[in-house]
């Protein structure tokens, strides 16, 4: 048996899905010798479920990944087959981008980027165990008998750990359709002392394009103007493919109802908890009996693929029942299933066991990211991968971890939620999860995060220069509109903006604050603004129009800052603090919050309990000094 592989890596990443790819690229780009291990070299950055990136909150996360110097935004922009910006009629904070992706091209491009990264080795191997020494993690051992040494290991196992695929009452081991599960690793984690749980998710069948009668279906095309995800791209020119909308009917529902006894969800064969926001079609039919139709978007999986993904139609019914109910829908009368839909159960590691750096509390140098932390979604996984990669690299370089606050990024909200609240279902991001939603916008992700990305070494000069130019234009523009005043003598402007006769002069800022006035109407009259880029102008308009609300959110951030600034040492013995209820003690002992702010967000922890805690914190500090 081989004792070692000969080379010690600074960072090893296990799994090359959306989390693993970001983690490995980040670590390597920060200058660490990095190894990325995957069970299959042909399935790097694979989209196991819907062939799309972004959407509400998820599009925000992709922008954040991009602003920090991650790859997802660029990869999605380069391989998209359709773009839609959602909520364009709502305010700036909840507008979000979504792209339909070419699944195979997405995977191929990501693999190429990884292969061309100098400090990064990509190898096929199945990791069976994490080796741990006295000073934390030592490396990983593979099924092939190889040992790869590293003091920093990032686990991104997706749905593969002890994956169990259900189709009707049949079930079999597998990590994704057609791919084996990873057996052994979660047992190793259990043996190391981790609490491991089980979750469930599902995916619909993939339908054959040529068997669908699209003439009977409503077409949905992409946007004419495409912004893209990455701040590096100024508008994209993509030849777009349409999606189509189909609907279930009473007949579909009847077929489903008549076959519930063959659904593992209803026979109790599935023990894992599934996401409520992504119910299977049988769940929808049962839970909303009053609905006589459900909508589905038929999404092409790529330019060179004839597979069609029917969104919102995930199912674990037997393949013959699937065929029956899909064929009951208008336009799908002759449909052929290329791959049947299925439900999958997999192991995850309870994320209250990780720190906000994503390093496990139990084992130094071991990081978890993605579905292993109980999340769902490519974007959520990629964001964690990026942060785990950054922090594994920083640990290798003996630097303190980068932790994003809830007021800085959805990524910060997600990691704080994961490490604070118990997992009830696979975690997905929604904009409503952020109490500072007005501050966390797609359009200002660069302002929020690019300086941090620059600090950690992921933002190169070209991105940085672009960012700085935008900032300069913004502050110059703001100065102009604050200082420049218009009065009745500016007849041309007044007429153009329909301001009537101004008895008193107004600054341009005050003019812009009016809801009916857009910044484009002002630009022609102000030379200094005419030279600003569209992105800087957009920032300017948002900053002025929503100043009051944004200011209030900053005040709320400020109020929490006191509590966030007080760190709680991990060695506090919560069970022996008098004045706390038993329930609060148990929750605190389980979560081991890193700050008083985090403690205050644990469910059941009252302001009074926080007061008691801060008293103890004070005493604890005093005792440490003596």
């Amino acid at each position: 048996m081989l004792v070692g592989y000969g080379k010690e890596y600074q960072v090893i990443v296990v799994g090359a899905g959306h989390a693993g790819c970001e983690a490995a690229l980040a670590a390597a780009r920060m200058g660490c010798s990095t190894l990325l291990l995957t069970m299959g070299l042909d399935v790097v950055a694979m989209m196991s479920c819907n062939p799309s990136i972004g959407g509400l909150a998820k599009g925000h996360i992709v922008h954040e990944i991009d602003a920090l110097g991650g790859e997802m935004g660029l990869n999605a922009d380069a391989t998209a087959i359709q773009f839609r910006r959602l909520n364009t009629r709502k305010g700036p904070a909840v507008r979000a981008s979504r792209a339909q992706s070419d699944r195979m091209t997405y995977s191929a491009r990501m693999k190429k980027i990884i292969e061309s990264e100098e400090m990064l080795d990509l190898k096929q191997a199945t990791v069976m165990s994490v080796e741990v020494g006295e000073r934390g993690v030592r490396g990983v051992r593979t099924r092939e008998g190889l040992f790869f040494a590293s003091q920093n290991v990032v686990l991104t196992t997706g749905t593969f750990m002890r994956g169990l695929i259900h189709m009707g009452l049949q079930n079999f081991s597998g990590g994704r359709a057609g791919e084996p599960a990873s057996l052994g690793l979660s047992d190793c984690l259990r043996d190391l002392g981790f609490s491991v749980g089980r979750l469930k998710t599902g995916t619909p069948a993939r339908l054959s394009q040529r068997s669908i009668d699209f003439s009977k279906l409503q077409e949905q095309t992409g946007d004419t103007h495409i912004r893209g995800f990455s701040f590096l791209n100024n508008g994209l020119d993509v030849s777009q493919l349409p999606c189509h909308i189909a609907n279930t009917n009473e007949r579909t529902h009847e077929i489903i109802r008549n076959n519930l006894h063959q659904s593992p969800l209803y026979t109790g064969a599935i023990e894992g908890i599934g996401p409520r926001y992504c119910p299977s079609i049988e769940d929808k039919v049962v839970r909303f009996p009053e609905r006589n139709s459900h909508q589905t978007f038929l999404e092409p999986e790529g330019r060179d693929s004839s597979e069609i993904y029917p969104s919102g139609m995930s199912t674990s019914l037997p393949p013959d029942v699937q065929l029956q109910f899909y064929r009951s829908m208008v336009g799908l009368e002759q449909v052929e299933i290329m791959r049947p839909g299925y439900a999958i159960e997999y192991d995850f590691v309870e994320p209250v066991q990780i720190r906000k750096s994503l390093e496990t509390k139990l084992i130094d140098g071991l990081f978890n990211a993605g579905q292993i932390n109980g999340t769902s979604g490519y974007e959520e996984a990629a964001a964690q991968g990026l942060m785990a990669g950054i922090n594994a690299a920083r640990r290798a370089m003996h630097r303190s971890p980068l932790v994003l606050g809830r007021d800085q990024a959805y990524i910060g909200v997600m990691i704080d939620d994961l490490t604070t609240q118990p997992t009830r279902e696979p975690y997905r991001m929604f904009t409503s999860r952020s109490e500072y939603r007005l501050l966390l916008r797609e359009d200002n992700a660069d302002q929020r995060l690019t300086p941090l990305g620059r600090d950690v070494g992921l933002v190169d000069d070209s991105r940085w220069l672009k960012y700085e130019a935008k900032q300069v234009e913004f502050s110059k523009g703001l100065r102009v509109i604050e200082q420049r005043r218009i009065s009745s003598s500016h007849k041309e402007i007044l007429d153009s903006l329909e301001l009537g006769d101004l008895s008193q002069g107004l600054s341009l800022k005050e003019v812009l604050r009016r809801p009916e006035i857009a910044i484009e109407q002002i630009v022609p009259f102000v030379d200094e603004l005419a030279s600003c880029g569209a992105e800087a102008l957009e920032q300017l308009e948002i900053a002025v129009k929503y100043e009051g609300y944004i200011e209030r959110q900053y005040q709320q951030v400020e109020r929490m800052r006191g509590l966030e600034g007080q760190s709680l040492p991990a060695s506090i013995d919560y069970m022996h603090i008098t004045g706390l209820s038993q329930e609060v003690k148990e929750r605190l002992a389980e979560v081991l919050p890193e700050t008083l702010g985090q403690a205050s967000r644990i469910q059941g922890v009252t302001p009074a309990a926080i007061a008691v805690l801060s008293i103890y914190l004070k005493r604890w500090k005093k005792e440490q000094q003596n």
Binding site: L56, A57, L86, N87, R89, K90, G91, A93, V94, R276, Y277, C278, P279, K284, R287, F288, R291, H294, Q295, F297, S311, G312, Q421, R424, F430, T431, S432, R433, E435, R437, L438, P515, Y546, Y549, R552, Q553, R559, G562, I577, T578, G579, L580, Q603, T606, P607, A608, I610, A611, V612, S614, I615, Y616, K618, R619, K622
Partner: protein, 454 residues
């Protein structure tokens, strides 16, 4: 707990002590207090630990009370922060008014144990006392929690709870519209949400207006008996109480001090305050009693102006009338069992009740008049909800402010996410009473009400 806020609470127990102390603590509290304190000898910045005499006026410049003002610069204060104490006249009404002035101006009502907590955090209290204080905070919050629970079945909590539910329902819809724009959701009918919230604002405002009435129920009513000597104040008091409490004699001016007794009128707890007769007197003790009576007028909720029905109205009756004419009062013509010789001048109020304390006649009508004067004019129907505590009032008021901002934002066509911010803040404001509304609560609602999942 937020250490940056200026917090305020009465430092003396509730009730009718002669003097009440209201304490403010926190950075900048002296500036806040100086905005409303008008010293009799002006100063720029108060010297620490020095009493100043002056008047407290509200934001509109109307005098609330004659007060003493003392500033204690941190760390030489109870909390080790800058502290201001306002010593005002006792009585819930004045205390409430003083609190109101500062709450309006941005101070926050202190939570249970919060002054002690700050004292500890700022190192004012020895570490050995830490556990005791922790227990205290725990015990007090437990107590208020169990109080809250005991109120759970009560109308008040139920009503606030139903407002919370309807606000949450609206928020749930708005959040669904924001986060799931491509799902098949109910049409974005913001108008019906507006109507619902506007109705909630109206109801909450009625509740806030009922605070004074509710306070009368929870803290009791102060009822002052006023009239010239020997008009029969003590007899009436005894008749109402049904027991010999005050000394009744025929010698004028027997009652020299304020006597207080508690009784219940139509479910309303009433403190009956007897006063020395109003007249010009050389007797220093009696003069003192008259002075106190005049002072008590300001802090009483209702005055019974007694006129002797067996005699003609004289100058002393008029001087009693002058004292109470700017307050709420009922004219009570006493001794109706004797031959009535009175012809009541028009200056006396429309509300006149004739009683005979000796024969116990007219007392029921008097009780009814008392009840109606105090309660009826607060224009509420029997089933509406009474706000009884300052805490409830503060919560309801700040919720109303958020909801009004919501309506304003909606009317100026701001997008849904701004509206959601206002609704969330309203829920937070009610949270102290009805329990917190977490993001997960809202998400739970969305997923159970709407079929989400693409």
């Amino acid at each position: 707990m937020d250490l940056q806020d200026i917090i305020i609470a009465p430092a003396t127990p509730p009730g009718e002590g002669g003097v009440a102390i209201i304490r403010l603590s926190g950075q900048g509290c002296v500036y806040l207090a100086q905005k409303f304190f008008y010293p009799s000898r002006s100063f720029e910045y108060p010297i620490s630990h020095t009493l100043y005499h002056g008047y407290l006026k509200n934001a509109q410049g109307i005098q609330v009370d004659e007060v003493m003002f003392v500033f204690m610069a941190g760390p030489r204060s109870f909390t080790a922060e800058d502290v201001v104490e306002i010593h005002c006249h006792g009585g819930q009404q004045i205390v409430s008014m003083v609190l109101h002035v500062f709450l309006q101006a941005g101070a926050r009502l202190a939570r249970p144990g919060e002054f002690s907590y700050r004292a500890f955090v700022n190192g004012r209290i020895d570490l050995t006392q830490a556990e005791a204080i922790a227990d205290l905070i725990h015990a007090r919050s437990e107590k208020s929690h169990s109080l809250a629970l005991s109120q759970l079945d009560g109308q008040l909590s139920q009503s606030l709870y139903s407002h919370k539910q309807s606000i949450k329902d609206s928020l749930c819809l708005i959040e669904a519209w924001i986060d799931f724009p491509e799902e098949e959701l109910p049409a974005e009918d913001i108008c019906s949400i507006r109507n619902g919230i506007a109705a909630a604002v109206r109801q909450l405002e009625t509740m806030i207006c009922s605070y004074n009435t509710g306070r009368l129920y929870s803290e009791g009513v102060s009822l002052l008996l006023l009239g010239k000597p020997n008009v029969g104040k003590s007899s009436l008091m005894n008749a109402l109480l049904g027991e010999e409490r005050a000394i009744v004699t025929d010698i004028e001016g027997t009652t020299r001090d304020l006597l207080e007794e508690g009784l219940v009128i139509n479910g309303l707890p009433v403190r009956l305050v007897d006063t020395a007769g109003i007249r010009e007197s050389c007797d220093p003790i009696e003069r003192e009693g008259v002075m106190r009576a005049r002072k008590r007028i300001d802090s009483s909720d209702l005055i019974l102006l007694l006129i002797d029905g067996s005699r003609a109205v004289d100058a002393e009756d008029f001087s009693a009338l002058n004292i109470c004419s700017s307050s709420k009062y009922i004219t009570v013509v006493t001794k109706s069992d004797l031959t009535e010789k009175i012809d009541l001048p028009v200056e006396f109020s429309e509300k006149v009740v004739h009683v005979s304390s000796r024969k116990h006649e007219g007392l029921d009508r008097l009780r009814e008049q008392i009840y109606l004067s105090l309660i009826a004019d607060s224009s509420r129907d029997e089933n509406s909800i009474l706000l009884t505590s300052q805490r409830h009032k503060v919560a309801a008021t700040s919720a109303v402010n958020c909801l009004k901002r919501f309506i304003k934002a909606l009317d100026s066509s701001l997008s849904l996410e701004f509206l959601a911010t206002d609704l969330r803040e309203a829920l937070d404001a009610l949270g102290g009473i009805t329990g917190e509304t977490t993001t997960d609560d809202v998400l739970d609602d969305i997923f159970s009400r709407f079929c989400i999942g693409k």
